[in-house]
């Protein structure tokens, strides 16, 4: 009885509950085929990493999902409805932060809400909450040039969180910060995935990072890009964050991914 229930739940999860599903997407930049017939599902409430060598089309795929780029072919569904442009159900975290240099932290965090026409006092309340959540309390009045790289990325993250989108699209969000900050961010990200009921799509270059933070890793191969493999580190979520990096499953998956990517790195 118990077992059948669990099984039923499992099939529901895998079959219908995809926050985002990409099917048969191709993208050409003139002569360059960046993506070719790519199909990939992103389960709700989970973090999926896109991992692959430079230039294989990770950013392109992310921007197509965001509605910033139009695919040459194929279809993207977010919560079951097709993507025609940017929407309130998705929020983007940019690799280079994309903060307004002339605006304070609080205005930057509230900027997504400002563009959506939320009243000033209301959006600042929401912004304050997320500024606290990402650990920037006391810097509300600061300007981006007064912050470190890591703090700027927190502002970008708080901005994406404050619009309360279902899907967070993150393009190499941790690549511009130092290694210690990066590790801290990875731990914070795990907490975020556990607490916020959101779907995360996460682009990274780092195999270790992908294995550490992901529920599902999609390995993309170079142009024209397709999904070479999907890996689900099943046992890692239950482990203590501090010991994941010493876990044998973690180490095995890192090795396995490296073995499959090695041939593409000259």
């Amino acid at each position: 009885m118990l077992q059948t229930n669990a099984l039923a739940e499992d099939t529901v999860l895998t079959q219908t509950d995809n926050a985002v599903s990409v099917s048969g997407v191709s993208k050409n930049y003139g002569e360059v085929e960046a993506l070719k017939n790519l199909t990939l599902d992103f389960p709700r409430g989970q973090l999926t990493s896109l991992l692959g060598p430079s230039g294989c089309g990770k950013t392109t795929l992310l921007k197509i999902i965001a509605g910033l780029l139009e695919p040459t072919e194929g279809k993207i569904l977010v919560n079951g409805s097709p993507v025609t442009g940017p929407g309130e159900d998705r929020a983007f975290v940019f690799q280079d932060f994309a903060l307004l240099p002339w605006a304070s932290v609080i205005r930057n965090v509230a900027f997504g809400l400002e563009l959506r026409g939320v009243a000033k006092s209301e959006r600042e309340d929401i912004a304050n909450k997320y500024i606290k959540e990402v650990g920037l309390e006391g810097f509300e009045k600061s300007f981006p040039h007064e912050l470190s790289g890591g703090m700027r990325q927190r502002v970008g993250l708080a901005r994406a969180l404050s619009v309360d989108a279902d899907v967070l699209l993150m393009d190499e969000p941790f690549s511009a910060v130092d290694e210690q900050t990066r590790r801290k961010f990875q731990e914070d990200l795990l907490a975020l995935v556990a607490n916020e009921n959101k779907t995360f799509i996460f682009v990274t270059h780092s195999i270790e990072e992908a294995v550490y933070v992901s529920d599902q890793i999609a390995i993309l191969l170079p142009r024209p890009s397709r999904v070479a493999d999907i890996i689900r580190p099943t046992g890692l979520r239950e482990k203590d964050v501090a010991s994941i990096r010493r876990d044998s499953e973690y180490l095995d998956i890192v090795d396995e991914i490296w073995a499959s990517l090695k041939s593409y790195v000259e």
Partner: protein, 250 residues
């Protein structure tokens, strides 16, 4: 500037040059160079005269109108050129030609077209100022960080919101830089216009003083003009510095 570790306020070297002027003036070196003290004395005398005040008013009027048109037409044109390839291709050659053209040669043509009065002077002033304003606004928009635009788009910004909340501010340091240089050029334009057309404003005053060999008066008016032009440019430089903290970090 620093002398023996003491920081002197900016422009202190002007005092030295003023002193030199005074000495040369006192030696009676040339009829054209009266001592600075005499010039200053004359300056205070003529400032009260109606002729001077009328000239000042007319010049200010022509200058402000000319700069107003240059800014109001120049900035949107530049922003449009920066955002739209087609408009850019159409207008850029003309902007570049006029930027480097000897505009003084055009003033007689303007006189024929628009008469010998205020209208021609305003148009001359605008023509002197507008091209650099257009070019700078264009550059400001073109160098805007792509990801700022994408950020605004991804959060659903309308074209108008993107323009007023992102494009304009991102280009502001360049726009102000262009306006500052444009205004300095407008000072030239308004004076050259008045000199050539010479019926109104300081042009008429210059004509009067130099024809009657009133060198002290002539210099006094010149000092006033230089001081005005310099203060305007310094004020704009100050505004520019206030936004420059983010100019390098967009």
């Amino acid at each position: 500037m620093q002398i023996k570790g003491v920081r002197l306020p900016g422009m202190s070297s002007l005092l030295l040059w003023g002193l030199l002027w005074e000495i040369v003036g006192r030696t009676g070196f040339s009829f054209f160079v009266p001592p600075l003290s005499e010039v200053v004395k004359t300056l205070f005398e003529i400032i009260g005269t109606t002729a001077f005040q009328k000239a000042l008013y007319e010049t200010a009027y022509a200058f402000c109108s000319g700069v107003f048109f240059a800014i109001v037409i120049g900035i949107p044109t530049g922003i449009m050129m920066g955002k739209n390839r087609l408009i850019d291709e159409l207008l850029l050659p003309w902007v570049n030609i006029f930027l480097s053209a000897p505009l003084t040669a055009l003033v007689p043509v303007l006189m024929v077209l628009f008469g010998f009065g205020m209208k021609s002077i305003i148009i001359t002033t605008t023509l002197f100022a507008i091209w650099i304003i257009i070019l700078n606004a264009r550059v400001g928009v073109m160098q805007i960080n792509r990801s700022l635009v994408e950020m605004a788009t991804s959060f659903g910004a309308s074209p108008w919101a993107a323009f007023t909340k992102v494009y304009f501010w991102a280009a502001l340091p360049e726009i102000l830089g262009g306006v500052r240089i444009g205004i300095i050029r407008a000072v030239k334009g308004v004076i050259i216009g008045q000199l050539l057309i010479s019926l109104v404003g300081f042009g008429a005053l210059f004509e009067l003083y130099s024809n009657n060999f009133l060198m002290k008066h002539f210099w006094a008016v010149l000092v006033v003009l230089f001081a005005l032009a310099f203060s305007i440019s310094e004020f704009l430089a100050y505004l520019e510095r206030r936004v420059s903290y983010y100019a390098a970090k967009r």
